[in-house]
Symmetry: C2
Subunit: 301 residues, 2 copies
């Protein structure tokens, strides 16, 4: 299948000026205009990150692109190109590949990122969709998860929890916010929430050599999480803290920048849920008391 | 598993100056010193590209890196960084990942390329090892498969065939040659032989808008191909033309450059096996007569 699929894929892929050489050769050449490039890579697998029968191939293609783009957004980078590698079950592989490809192209057009290469193979195993995304650093701004400083506010960019009801397939990488704040707000660190707020925040705090405390009443909860919790508030909070695949950003922002941030991206995208603190570990704040908070969320096996 | 594996992997991975930020964050940052970057991506899968039980995980790790680096070599690029993504069968996944990783690191050290990121997941399917390689363009030299010109010699850089007896796992991407000739020889086009000389040469000719003729008596044949053919010369030639996974380079070189090429990389690495011609398609030459040659080789499903 590969040759005709590649020919079709080449035609189907949008041409963007940053790709000097795209699909069809041994590798792709990406113009960077002298800035550093940012590369991320993630596989999603049938039965692990999606169920093909339920989600459908187009949404799977979109998700594969979005999880990678979300990583670039979390770095404050600007996406340039993506590379797609498919492991396809033999049964009706061509149709499946084409449907996935539609979803991939949809996202790549939405975010003006070039699909610049990849490979396809058939096998007796389940579907694997693998994407590598390449972005560039803009204006020397790069957000790492290790940059949070003690006293920084912990900000999340949207409501959390219940992603299994649909958002884990249909979320939107938050470049809309990134573009507005990259050069205008002092962001010390950032990370996207893939495994769950509590576990990802703890990882961010650990990487930054500090701890974090959450004000649990401030954590924004999605309608989906409320639905899964059947209205029970402790359960809804548990979903928001631990479901993961929210793909909102955690930002470490100095207090003096919060108003500016709200002005640029709107109140609804700026939820101050806690603070980075000197005491290591993850805590919840109850008045002046801190209680250790278990880090719940998806742990990769 | 992922967190402890990542921590270990980060420690295990060699630090190279081109990686500004490597394993452990959402994405990696690669310094390019203002040159364009070259990116390639390939998955290898248990039962398709290797048999885990026979090959062993370390060789599988090496192969996954080498197939990608071979693509960079075929572009004339210089490798900078690789990204590894693993789909691991649940049974003893950690040991398996570590062994694969050893093979990956072995190759990355050999070729001074940084392992700069990736992800790992467990599942109920077979092993998939996915690598993305990023390289850079040096001195504005880039070899494509579409650059061959009518009259160029078809040169292969080594003996072909019988890779299944071992070479498909243990081949060496030909950076040794690339480094010596990149700026010194006029190379019009290049491609690595992954699917078989005949099918890959036809693809190269097609991409270049010309045809190619082979002098079958000049095709260098490996001892492994002779062994698989049990000494029958037509069978040995068939192996050389169609087995694939040789990972030698096909070079399109103007005749006047051949002596210089031999001087730089040695007779044993310069096999003139044919010529790019105006008549499209793939041919074999018998005196002044051309016969159409079937393109044999691995066709991706």
């Amino acid at each position: 299948m590969e040759q005709s699929f590649v020919a079709w894929a080449k035609m189907r892929a949008r041409r963007l000026p940053q790709v000097k050489l795209g699909i069809g050769d041994d590798a792709a050449i990406i113009a960077t205009n002298a800035s550093d490039i940012v590369v991320t890579t993630d596989s999603i697998m049938d039965g692990v990150h999606f169920r093909l029968q339920e989600a459908g191939p187009r949404r799977v293609g979109r998700k594969a692109v979005s999880v990678n783009l979300s990583d670039l957004a979390a770095m404050g980078a600007q996406p340039l190109a993506i590379f797609l590698s498919l492991c396809l079950p033999r049964n009706d592989a061509q149709t499946l590949a084409a449907e996935i490809y539609e979803g991939v192209c949809e996202q790549s057009e939405k975010f003006q990122v070039a699909l610049a290469g990849g490979d396809t193979n058939c096998w007796d195993g389940p579907l694997v969709v693998h994407v590598t995304a390449v972005g560039k650093v803009v204006d020397d701004v790069i957000w790492t998860r290790s940059g949070a400083k003690i006293g920084d506010a912990v900000i999340v960019t949207g409501a959390l929890g219940g992603s299994l009801l649909g958002k884990h397939l249909d979320f939107v990488p938050r470049f809309d916010l990134v573009e507005k704040i990259r050069t205008r707000v002092e962001i010390h660190g950032a990370m996207d929430i893939s495994d769950g707020l509590s576990i990802d925040l703890l990882r961010m705090a650990d990487a930054s050599g500090c701890g974090a405390v959450l004000d649990l009443t401030q954590v924004p909860i999605t309608p989906a999480a409320w639905k899964m919790a059947a209205g029970a508030s402790d359960q809804a909070l548990a979903h928001a803290l631990g479901d993961g695949e929210d793909f909102e950003l955690i930002l470490a922002v100095p207090a003096k920048e919060i108003d500016k941030l709200r002005g640029l991206i709107g109140m609804q995208n700026v939820h101050v849920v806690g603070e980075f603190i000197s005491r290591t570990g993850l805590w919840s704040r109850h008045g002046s008391q801190y209680r250790q908070l278990p880090a719940t969320g998806y742990v990769h096996q």
